[in-house]
Amino acid sequence: MSIELDQVTKRYQGVPVVNDVSISVAEGEFLVLLGPSGSGKSTLLRAIAGLTEINRGRVSLHGRDVTHVNAREREVGFVFQHYALFRHMTIGENIEFALRVRHAKAAERRARRQELLRLVALEGMDDRLPAQLSGGQQQRIAVARALAHRPKVLLMDEPFGALDAKIREELRRTIRQIQRELGISTILVTHDQEEAFALADRIGVMHQGRLLECGKPDDLYTRPATRFVSTFLGAANLLLGYRSKDGIRFAPPANPAPADAPPVYEIVTVLRPEEVEMASERKELKATFVGHARVEEVLFGGAVERLRVRMQDRGTVASAVKGAAAASEDGTLIEVTRTLPEKRQLPVTPGQRVALGARRIHVLPTPVSSFSVVAATEEDCARIAAAPLLQALSTRMVTRVNHRVEPTIGEPPTGKAARALAPPGVAAVESGPGGAARVEWLLRHGASQVLCLDPERPVPTRVVIHAASDAALRPTMAVASSLLRNLPVEAAFLDIQSPALPAEGRATQLRHLLDARSEAAAVHGLDVRTELRFGDSATELSRELAAEDIALLIVGLPLAPTDAWQKLLPIAKLLDARGGDPVLIVRAAT
């Protein structure tokens, strides 16, 4: 590996701007770090170059740990957005700078200069001053200068940001060509997805300081794992769907469910605008029917036609997710793009009613589809739904918060048959007196993730993850990584071992701990810090949460439907406490 980052964290005034980022770049690979402004991508790049100190983690270049080596000795080439050419030096002097500070001989400097100028196709410019060159030419000189000392790694920070579209495209090609020719490992930072697609062998998408996903461009586009990546790379409609053994439906299941109905899971699906099929009638659709919609807006965009349609019949499709405005009471706004042949077959005008089909649907591998606030009255529901943590999560995950009024919540089982449908997504209840009983009621009614929180408390500044058994590890990590991608705070996985365990047992436990980390990294693309404690879980957890700040505890419990209460006992105190830290319980099937 030519560039290796291991859990790199950088904080500014206590806030992590780069949060546990691990990444490996192979020899000669071109990696593009893509993200909106403020996502931490430039800071990460500067950290690799040694221009910014990191608070935690490790940076290796070609197997050499350079975490504490300064930029001068890292042997990297860095290209800046605004060229950063030395204005009082000629082009030739600029290019020779790296060799001059190394006291190279004049003949060697001149030879290298000619070679580099030829590489960037600017021969004969040696004696000009930077100010006499165009922006595109200046950036080429900057690239040549960065390569002068034959670095093994090339880092570029938005190198095309200050250039106009045509030159940008040309320079993009030049840089790709040079990179191939030299076979130099390269990381380029940009916010432009088109640029990322054009250049990258692999794209890493950053958001709120975390590296969300990293993969080949077409894999990321067709099979994104997160909401953010699916909407940031190209356009996407995020729809809630319902999966049962019969397949995926977009209509919510009936409540209460018939006794013989198969279990239904709520899922998040990605429907790309170009995968939407439009027909005048449902029976004319070739693809799977999604719902009926009314055309709201038609825009001609050259090679494609862009439409916005609103799905009205909430009976069939109620569950759209893309933004609060899109999912209003009037229905769900869906973006559609059609090719011109498609447009010729069915010309539409605003106001027209059409049937929508989905040619291809991608299901996001996230267990957190939506939130359902459960309380005894509608007022309580509204109060809990306004909790800062729920608001923050639902906004960032562009999902909705359902209200579910259950007058009997928290009461012991009566033995009556009528099985209420499990609330979709993460069920949320209020903590405080009776909190544990409410959680238990929800778990008994089939909820698999329960968030118990005090609606008055602000958003947590820290996340603690713990799995009570090995079986609980996998689902806990899945939920945690899904949530962490949307919370810009630091997280730690806590493993608690009994001090009575014999030495061999400890070794096994340690392996499980390492497994947990690699599992999180491999399956969910999320890197978390791991900590090992010895003692009793309840005591250790309360100690961890005793600090003044607000921590979200994500705890995985192996629960059979019958023994819910018993298994809750270690954390029951946390659930019953008023004003305590929020707790998210992840149920693991036993």
Binding site: R46, A49, G50, L51, N70, A71, R72, E73, R74, E75, V76, G77, F78, F80, H82, A84, F86, R87, H88, T90, F97, A98, V101, R102, D127, R128, L129, A131, Q132, R145, A146, A148, H149
Partner: protein, 279 residues
């Protein structure tokens, strides 16, 4: 004249040029001409006697020497002050920034009296220095100290904007290219701010040559030792030797002009070198 006319958003080339000529004549050229006429009215032998008087020569040496030394000190320390103010964020930075201008605003006599009070053999700094055997007040060192105080703002205010212009990117770039901190300073920062430092130096030097108010109190005005040329001129005036005063003034004018002109030439040469390198 229309040959020189350039299209401009501001109209009235004739009017503005006329105004400039008039202004320069009335305020600068006419008084200077009067000085030249008055100063050169004595016969050559008389002139030689006035200008080459040992007392006058000692005063030239002090005036120009002290001004030069003070300007050099200011160029170095003024750069450091400007660097601190531009590059670091610290509590009270704005206050320090405002303090820099104080020598501009203060009547020079006030600074002179204040300096004398502090550096006099019984003043609290003078007392401490006296124990090391160093006397500041009433020696040439006192003159230099006064001129440093007067000249500092010129250097700081010239260098500050130039330093702001040196982007952090440039230093970062140099660092990734393998330059050591000293090489970054020497090859990147210094060339970028050197013209500004030179400008500040020239201004401080020019001001130092002509400074009167702050120096007369701290220098002690011993003929041949701590007497500056402007003071000598005042003494001549008080003795009603107007021609001698004018002659001394003319001598200062000529010497100052030569020196400033030389510095300007150096600056122009530096600029041309960059442009020439570009062709």
């Amino acid at each position: 004249m229309s040959r020189f006319r350039q299209p401009s958003i501001l109209p009235g080339f004739g009017l503005t040029l006329g105004f400039t000529t008039f202004f320069l004549s009335a305020i600068v050229l006419i008084p200077l001409a009067a000085l030249i006429i008055k100063g050169s009215s004595p016969s050559l032998a008389e002139l030689k006697e006035i200008l080459l008087d040992p007392r006058a020569i000692a005063s030239y040496r002090l005036s120009f020497g002290a001004a030069l030394l003070a300007a050099v000190v200011n160029a170095i320390f003024g750069f450091i002050v400007a660097w601190t103010l531009v590059r670091y964020e610290f509590p009270g930075r704005r206050l320090v920034d405002a303090l820099i201008d104080l020598p501009f605003a203060l009547p020079t006599a006030v600074s002179g009296i204040a300096l004398t009070a502090v550096f006099a053999p019984n003043g609290w700094l003078g007392l401490k220095l006296a124990s090391f055997g160093v006397q500041v007040a009433y020696t040439w060192i006192g003159v230099v100290v006064a001129l440093i105080l007067i000249g500092l703002p010129f250097v700081v205010r010239s260098v500050q904007p130039a330093l702001v212009e040196v982007q952090r990117d440039l230093e970062d770039a140099a660092e990734t290219l393998g330059a050591s901190p000293w090489q970054i300073f020497r090859r990147i920062i210094l060339p970028a701010v050197l013209p500004a430092v030179l400008t500040g130096f020239t201004l401080a030097f020019a001001r130092g040559i002509g400074e009167y108010g702050s120096v007369v109190f701290i220098s002690g005005n011993l003929p041949m030792k701590t007497e500056i040329t402007p003071l000598l001129i005042v003494i001549k005036l008080e003795q009603f030797e107007y021609q001698a005063a004018a002659a001394l003034g003319l001598a200062m004018l000529v010497m100052s002009f030569i020196m400033l002109f030389a510095i300007n030439l150096v600056q122009a040469w530096g600029r041309r070198r960059h442009v020439a390198a570009g062709r």
